[in-house]
């Protein structure tokens, strides 16, 4: 690592187009999305959320990840630099993804969703036969 200082970002609050059924602020988690030959991987920062608080919902090509924050805040606030709230973010998936095989895991407040590409989209070698 080059030892650079990490920059602080304010938590991004959701300015939502639809209404949420639960009350309270919702935040947009930071994500990394990358792909290799076989799959797409999505990593989302959702601190304070444990495995049971994650809800992943796939409908009509829309992938929605939600995280419920668990744990009470002890005591009365003295200084508050960030707000606490649940996380939500929605992505549109192309049909490149094999939706049956999506897997997710949660570790240290980071959600990892692995989206395997469907076989039709994987590059396939075509053998050339000589006549």
């Amino acid at each position: 690592m080059d030892g650079k200082d990490i920059q602080v970002q304010d938590k991004k609050e959701l300015e939502s187009s639809g209404e949420m059924t639960r009350e309270g602020a919702f935040f947009v988690p930071n994500v990394d999305i990358f792909e290799d030959e076989n799959q797409l991987v999505l990593l989302a920062d959702m601190p304070g959320v444990d495995k049971d608080g994650v809800d992943i919902h796939l409908e009509e090509g829309q992938l929605r990840i939600q995280g419920k924050v668990s744990g009470e805040v002890p005591g009365e606030y003295v200084i508050s630099e960030y707000s606490v709230g649940d996380y939500t973010r929605t992505f549109t998936l192309s049909n490149v993804i094999d939706q049956e095989k999506i897997q997710a895991s949660m570790k240290n407040g980071v959600l990892r969703v692995v989206l395997p590409k469907s076989d039709i989209s994987k590059p396939r070698k075509i053998a050339v036969k000589s006549e």
């Binding site: 602080v8 970002q9 994500v31 601190p47 960030y82 240290n108 407040g109």
Partner: protein, 148 residues
Amino acid sequence: MPGTRFSNYPDWGVWGPFRGLERLRRAMGSVAAGSPGYSTAGVFPLTNVSEDQDNYYVRAELPGMTADQIDITATVDKVSISGERAISEEGEGVVYHRRERDSGTFSRMIGLPGSVDPDKVEASFGNGMLTIKLPKSEASKPKQITVN
């Protein structure tokens, strides 16, 4: 915030009811005027400090880190948190579509509203949330005063 979107435009280009608001915002000398989402006064990690009768609590969000990557030291009236957040390499031939998660070193000292007993400080880390419990010293605890 509605005015933020126009922050890169010259003054005459800001239309609508937010024109005055945007001018005021820039006049306040916001350092991060061109980069929405980056806190002007904040240092990583953002922390919340709360208290009850007996303790102060300092909480910080550090997703993706493990307990052994974080260094915490406490004195009578300050606690400092430092460490390095590493984003793991994902291997060869990987194409990134979005990269919003930051990595790097951080070091931050937080002044506490009252004095604590540094020997009794406890820290716990779970699900990317760090919670430091700092028991107040006797001098900081609120005292009931009886009225004769």
